[in-house]
Amino acid sequence: MSKIFTTPSGFAGSTLVQGLRHLIRLAVLLGIIGTGLVAHYRVFVTKEKIKVIQSEENPSLARQSALAMHQYLSGPEAQRGVEQKHLSVIRGNTWSADIYGLSVTDPLAAAESVATSRKVTRSLLIGLALPVIATLLLGRFFCSWICPAGFLFDIADRLRSLLQRLGMPTRNVNLWRGNKYVLLIVGLVVGALVGVPVLGAFYPPAVLGREISALTAAFFSVLTDYPVVTGISLSGFFIIGIIVAETFVSRRLWCRFVCPGGGLYSLIGMGRLTRVRNDLQQCTSCTECVQVCPMGLNPMKSTSPGIECDQCMLCLNSCPPGSLSLQFGLPKLPKKTDA
């Protein structure tokens, strides 16, 4: 009763699936940019409306601005219901998003909020439901299928292999994998002591969302003549730093060794139902999968590559005898009888 469903060999790891994976992550990245642009565009339209009202009436300056505010606030725009007006948009980023009214919150964000405020709110649980259920089923899939920072780090990975092909020396430093769990626990403890969430300030998906929306604000303030407080912080350089480090120092340095969010996803997805399995009778121990795995895991083990597997399915495609497959079933395997 362990194996319920096995992917047809060659499908799950096919270029089609990989293309889909990259496409989804690109869509998420573009979605964050688009969300920021749409939000600021709506503000821009509002301000333009006020301007138009101001130019129509032309008494004193005081009457102008007062009339503008009054007409805008009591006009049809203000009388439309809150639900109708605000459900038709996507808000936020991968840290926490409101997609047409569906609330999705990163488990790390929720964990931090609970640790620092010592309060569990209803909204938080609603937002947690979808990510936690998906992670219980699919494991750490967020990292390879959704995370926009992971997409950028994959580009760094490509850059890295390009540099290697050109003969530039690149190092591959290995750190201790447990770092991410230590950082997760330490971050939560420090957050609880200080009362301010600290992990979210440098967790790449959160930083990326924040910086992109700040940059779109800056873009609009350049485009239009009204001033926008942009909220740009220096944490964007942190992402650039990680990309540089991943290109020259170590492959997927952040995701493999440091990322506290990835650590939390790994822990939640410990008993995941979908995992990569290796058929030991067909395996020729060629280590192709070990070389291709971006997480530096070993899928050749008969059980599964471990909790840190992010279900990118690259190993499935690389396997020459096709002994690796993606299986959906209960976590416990029956006793292996072969040698």
């Binding site: 969300t35 920021g36 939000a39 600021h40 509002t46 301000k47 300056l61 005081a62 009457r63 601005s65 007062a66 505010m69 009054h70 805008y72 606030l73 203000a78 007006k85 605000h86 948009v89 936020g92 840290w95 926490s96 409101d98 609330s103 919150t105 929720a110 931090e112 909020s113 620092t116 405020s117 309060k119 709110t121 209803r122 909204s123 938080l124 201790w176 447990g178 770092n179 230590v182 330490v186 971050g187 420090v190 957050g191 200080v194 009362g195 301010v196 969430p197 600290v198 979210g200 300030a201 959160a206 969302g209 929306s213 700040a214 001033p227 407080v229 942009t230 909220g231 740009i232 912080s233």
Partner: protein, 194 residues
């Protein structure tokens, strides 16, 4: 292995502690007469420390705001990194309450009535207000006020008077105020900034 874990723990504890200290730094907000205060969006938790601990800095309220009143703290801003705040002199809150419907952690609590909002209190500066100091007849703040004749009433020459029990601190009066530079009517939140 134990030594390594302890070492990593101590190192990251120190690093994160310094980092948290940096996060907590506060710069002076825009130059005003009076104490520096940050105005949080509608429905924000009363206690500033509680608000800071519950807010996850996700920017959903900012994206929901139809008038762009909500700003997020960035480098050199008065508010902490990524936390929402309002600069009423630039853009007041039009009390759409969209931000309160979208907050994922209830740091901004759900509000359905605009009169329940408590962002602060508008205070008129008698020295600079055109209608009060006798240099003109204005009334912009009264016209902009969503609680006309309740929160702001007018005296002779349209001189405004703010009534504490009705003013929600939306800041539309501050935005509408015609006085250049530091506005004659300003919103104070009374939040404890530590």
């Amino acid at each position: 292995m134990l030594l390594r874990t302890v070492g990593v723990s101590i190192a990251s504890f120190t690093g994160l502690g310094v980092f948290a200290g940096l996060l907590k730094r506060k710069a002076a907000p825009y130059p005003v007469l009076g104490e520096p205060e940050i105005i949080r969006p509608p429905g924000a938790l009363e206690s500033e420390t509680e608000f800071l601990s519950q807010c996850i800095r996700c920017a959903r309220c900012r994206d929901a705001c139809p008038t762009g009143a909500i700003k997020l703290g960035g480098f050199g801003d008065p508010a902490q990194l990524g936390t929402p705040y309002v600069l009423p002199f630039e853009s007041g809150c039009n009390l759409s309450l969209a931000c309160t419907t979208t907050c994922p952690t209830d740091a901004l609590q759900l509000l359905t009535l605009t009169k329940d909002v408590n962002m602060g209190l508008a205070v008129v500066d008698d020295r600079t207000c055109v209608s009060i100091n006798g240099t003109g007849v204005c009334g912009a703040c009264h016209t902009a006020c969503p609680f006309k004749n309740l929160a702001i009433t007018q005296g002779s020459h349209n001189a405004p008077t703010v009534h504490e029990d009705h003013c929600v601190g939306c800041g539309l009066c501050e935005e509408a105020c015609i006085v250049e530079g530091i506005k004659a009517i300003r919103v104070f939140s009374g939040r404890d900034i530590t």
